[in-house]
Symmetry: D2
């Protein structure tokens, strides 16, 4: 693991500059080295001030987003795809301006429960749009990571294998995958095997519990998850994600179906997650060493 991150929605609904700055501080106070923000519209936030605050705290910034329906690059409507490409270009610029180097999430489709099957043309439109965005992103020093999500949050890329096929169709070697334990728990036949299948093509990783609450408050087998990350020599960032109606942005709340509050107090949640991930990662390293020691 390079840096341990936390999603800003643990701290704030992300509506105000002050909320984002406080989230940076709270991440640092809880011992994290990275924060994940949702797309920061430059007309609403002072990105430069955020960048400086983050740098002062030695907190790196990753930005993730899901496209809105009106800018869905997996649409069959060229105008909608074009709007999506423009949005992605703006997002890349915002990542650069806030001092970040990674744009992740559902960049390849809308973030919604679809009411139609994906189409071959939509897939091609999306892959082309991502490929085009990747070129611009490279120049901006930003890497694109595509989040593989469950069937209820996109209809296009629900499994790692689909993600790998999609990467090829983008025609770009720069684009990689962003895996997430919450989504894998719904979609993968064997989540650890999916991580091994992705291998070097995964460069961002979300740790989230099956009910999106406290780690341990669900069914995910994190021992096998960390074993698999070590199997592939994963050396990039890992970010903890948990949503509660007590904090989270309402739009995301509805998109993700957060009807229940599995927690209300975020400080113990974030401290527990950090202790949990570090303990489990240490155990996985020890297990690996023990297994190999003659």
């Amino acid at each position: 693991m390079r840096r341990l991150g936390v999603h800003s929605f643990v701290w704030t609904d992300g509506k105000t500059q002050a909320g984002l700055e406080r989230a940076l501080e709270q991440s640092a106070e809880a011992g994290y080295g990275l924060i994940e923000f949702a797309y920061l519209r430059p007309e609403l936030f002072d990105l430069d001030a955020l960048a400086k605050r983050a740098q002062g705290l030695d907190i790196e910034i990753t930005v993730t987003m899901g496209l809105p329906v009106a800018a869905d690059v997996s649409s069959e409507d060229p105008a909608v795809v074009k709007a999506g490409e423009a949005l992605l270009a703006n997002a890349v610029a915002a990542v650069r301006d806030v001092g970040g180097t990674r744009l992740g999430g559902i960049l390849y489709s809308a973030h919604r429960k679809y009411d139609a099957k994906p189409t071959a043309r939509g897939w091609q439109n999306s892959a082309a749009a991502i490929g085009k965005t990747a070129d611009a992103a490279r120049e901006a020093g930003v890497s694109l990571v595509l989040e593989v999500v469950n069937r209820f949050e996109s209809n296009l890329i629900n499994t790692t294998a689909q993600g790998l096929a999609f990467l090829k169709d983008t025609g770009s070697d720069d684009v990689t995958l962003h895996l997430d334990t919450f989504h894998m728990n719904i979609e993968e036949a064997n989540p650890a095997a999916a991580i091994r299948l992705a291998g070097p093509k995964v460069s961002y990783f979300h740790i989230g519990e099956s009910n999106r609450g406290y780690l341990g408050d669900g069914v995910i087998d994190f021992d096998r998850t960390f074993d698999a990350l070590l199997d592939i020599g994963y050396s990039s960032d890992i970010t903890f994600e948990s949503f509660s109606g007590a904090i989270v942005d309402e739009a995301l709340c509805l998109a993700c179906g957060i009807w229940r509050d599995t927690w209300t107090d975020n400080v113990p949640l974030a401290r527990h997650a950090k202790a949990y991930i570090e303990l489990k990662l240490g155990e996985a390293e020890r297990r690996r060493a023990t297994n190999a020691r003659p």
Copy 2:
């Protein structure tokens, strides 16, 4: 276990009388003793003929449904609630007319990805409607079982504990819960503990894998599931559920986000599920006996 059932969507999209009758035969051929149908509109199907065919094959019929938005008894709009009550009354009659004794599923809300949080009034409207329907159902010899489903398919009852609280608010002792391993995998902190929490209040049970495909093609811990069913002395029916775009009704496909076909050939799927459930149940019984033997 009383009877081992299979959802009719394994066999048919349920659009035609012939499809339903063939599904009855295929269920019997694969060794099942119960079939689960979606709501059978009496104006579209010859319920009496289905009842006779089922009786001749010694196949029992359970009916499940999710309400449409226009008949959502958890609405705050009295007209919509009223439409829901009428639909439930019709469904109870159809169950009776097809020779069934159980109406299950998402009877308490729409089957959809909601875009708003549930409300206290909606909960009360729903509980009252279910209580009222239960009275009518009792006279028709039909029992109501409420399916606890994941956050993306309803916003009202996502956990067993919520289901138990809802049962109390219906004011009826006749209504019980319908649990499902697929949904529990997303929502319960510990699915086996949820089964033990429900105890005698669970009277119908769905076995489905985490990706809704073949049993074994996912992460669900069925050993602990069957152990828990034995812990509570569960003696009612267990039904296998799996959806594939190769067969399933399109509306359900979209409601459930079935974008991928995890299988196309239903006969080996159904035979495997029967062998799997019987093997696992036998192992759980043996494990329980072994654990208790001095």
Copy 3:
């Protein structure tokens, strides 16, 4: 959990007074509230000094032992049984004298790989000897807890169900069981179910990994273990046990087959175990609350 303990063999081979006193200090330094000693022969150690040192550090003492072959109360030879009863009486006195209140371990047989099947007479001799010892122990303010161990370390009580049957045959209500995750991993069809089977009859609990090394360095499902302890309202002590050839007493090393050193540095081991148990117990409590919250 009442107190979190650590076995003294994590710290010392227990050969010297200074070693035992240092073990008390190290236990306290690592944040434990209880230490488990092997049988302390009063002619070799200053029990009173140990008792005072422990009291000063607020560390409680539990003593465990396995009988030697020459004092095996499950023998068919009355002289050997008599020797065993005398040894148990001495051990009870030593527990009292060192300020302890609990004598545990393999009190009912030798601690060895047997080379013969257990006999009915041996079982009766053992149960009678334990019953007799329990009467004397009560007067000394010491409770007896019988450790259920794997087939390679005794031939008499390998499962919880056997332990419960044995308790009845002692004729004493004072004697209870001492369960251990390492042993349960080899013997129980379902370890968590075994804990629930024991219920109020378990009053001491060992947390040990499947290879007797670091927690996490093996296959034991501690989540289900802690869930089960909460299910039965377990409110007594939990002690961490791990053996390495780097520290442990040679006799125990041979009895337990410790041929490999899974660790050499005991301070990080003990700190990890404490953090692990507290984290996992907290998660189990949270999981239980989440599961029950409507």
Copy 4:
């Protein structure tokens, strides 16, 4: 998987020619294609008759053994080592004479609970003896497979990593490992990772439950076991092993600590094991395909 085998101790204590022949028949009747015999002393059995009977039934024969103390090739006493080499040579000849092609088990040490740590000289003696035996075995058309066993049944090779180091020290490329889920459950930090570590060096595999009884009557994660076997492209034989005092040879019973009968009726046991292994293997293949399908 090449052939599915069953240990002869499921059927017989192996004391008589008739018992062995009946075991061959019962293996075939239960659908197995391979039987595992304990070392067959040529002066006691008509090996040629067994070979013909096996051939007629299309049952292959594998022989396994553990050395006696007096012929322990890991001894520091040259005379004992020499006796061991002679025994191994005889065993190789017996395997050839009974029409088998594989000699497995604890060929590198005694099969016992040791009461001393292994020594470097003992390890070297053993490796040299195995290397020498391998040369003779090659000429006889017999391959040697070394079983990695738990600490209570040998002190020399308890983990896969130790086994791999030992293979190197034999100086032979012909010798490979024989892994067993029962033993791995006690010794390996991660049994599935151990299988992947062994890779092409494992050429025989035992499926046994954690309590050595019915599959499913314990804690072993067979899903991950079969996934790992597919990961390494395992294409050799898999043999089911279970011991009960109702059948098994007394010497083995004592060596393995079989004090309890987890079953008495072997026919349903063997049929269940075959169904279980085939079902689980099929699921692992399907899971692997599902995981990889874009």
